[in-house]
């Protein structure tokens, strides 16, 4: 690609997540694809560098998890298990412990859901679970809101990464509170932050990166697209474009027009 970041730019701009520098800022979910082959192609062609996964009940003799786990391992990406669907701290902690054993990683995307319709995080349960998990050696990626006080509590609990939502999970609404996200980004400039959930279009991912977020995590927008592989590639390009734009130091917006073509030398035609 012509506009690849130079190596120096990449080194300057590379974000570290618990000491891991990811080759791309694209984190992609693994749920709801039309087929495992399409999931595989979406990851390979988009160069997404993190795959989110979950744990679910296994029927006796089914061994359904093994085929999926093999597919994910063969992708060679960083695995980020989640605690999706958990509505209490204790449920999330137990789920995280099971995920750590199954996926052999101490990374955990911590979800503690507080509201069934909006899937909004339960801030109190989230801090409680994060405190327990950080103390237990987990590297916690909390799915949170843009709330500054909650961010502070999560950092106090030991989280070294924050994952504010763009919009409620699965809505595709994009960044519905740009002011709140800008405030969060500005308040903690050195904390790696991932916009997680609510994105529907690549332009929204570019916007997140232009705002200075370090990565983007999404699932539904790719998996439910008519062509998931093409959409994954579109997101990858948008994420890289937004990242490059951020490093290119964008101009300041202004209210008054300013001609881009110099007036000096214009023909006098009256």
């Amino acid at each position: 690609m012509r506009w690849k970041l130079s190596r120096r730019d990449k080194e300057d701009d590379m974000s570290s997540f618990y000491g891991v520098e990811l080759p791309t800022a694209f984190m992609l979910g693994t749920a709801n694809y039309p087929s495992p082959a399409i999931l595989d192609a979406a990851f390979r062609q988009s160069a997404a560098s993190v795959a989110t996964v979950s744990v679910r009940r296994e029927a006796a003799g089914a061994r359904a998890g093994e085929g999926f786990w093999r597919l994910i391992r063969e992708l060679g990406v960083q695995v980020l298990p989640n605690t999706a669907g958990c509505h209490s701290a204790s449920e999330a902690v137990t789920t995280a412990q099971m995920a750590r054993e199954l996926f052999e990683t101490d990374w955990i995307k911590l979800e503690v859901i507080g509201h069934s319709d909006s899937l909004q995080p339960d801030p109190f349960g989230l801090v409680e679970a994060a405190t327990i998990l950080c103390r237990d050696g987990f590297k916690v990626f909390p799915y949170t809101t843009e709330d500054l006080v909650l961010a502070e509590r999560l950092l106090d609990a030991g989280c070294e990464v924050l994952m504010p939502w763009g919009a409620p999970i699965g809505t595709g609404l994009g960044l519905i509170n740009p002011y709140g996200l800008r405030s969060l980004r500005a308040q903690y400039p050195d904390v790696p932050m991932v916009i997680d959930a609510g994105l529907g279009l690549p332009s929204q991912a570019a916007q997140a990166m232009e705002m200075g977020f370090d990565a983007v995590l999404l699932n539904t927008a790719v998996a439910k697209a008519g062509d998931p592989v093409a959409m994954a590639c579109a997101f990858a390009k948008a994420i890289e474009a937004g990242q490059l734009a951020k490093t290119a130091d964008p101009m300041e917006p202004r209210d008054m027009a300013a001609p881009s073509t110099p007036l000096i030398g214009k023909a006098f035609l009256q």
Partner: protein, 65 residues
């Protein structure tokens, strides 16, 4: 004795969690376990004694967002 396995009432003869996994067809499957809401690591399955009415959860890797 009767216990719950993944929410289904199940009659088991074995007493340890490890033996119950064997008895119910999980064999060497890649699974993680919890009993009554508490995680039980692989290393403790043999010594984990299950009692009547206990709730055993058995999970495996799945797709997720």
């Amino acid at each position: 004795m009767k216990i719950s396995i993944n929410g289904v009432a199940t009659e088991v003869a074995a007493r340890s969690l490890e033996a119950i996994l064997q008895e119910n067809g999980y064999g060497d499957s890649r699974v993680a376990t919890a009993v009554n809401g508490n995680f039980v690591p692989v290393s403790q399955r043999a010594s984990c004694q299950i009692e009547a009415g206990d709730a055993v959860e058995i999970v495996a890797p799945r797709q997720g967002g």
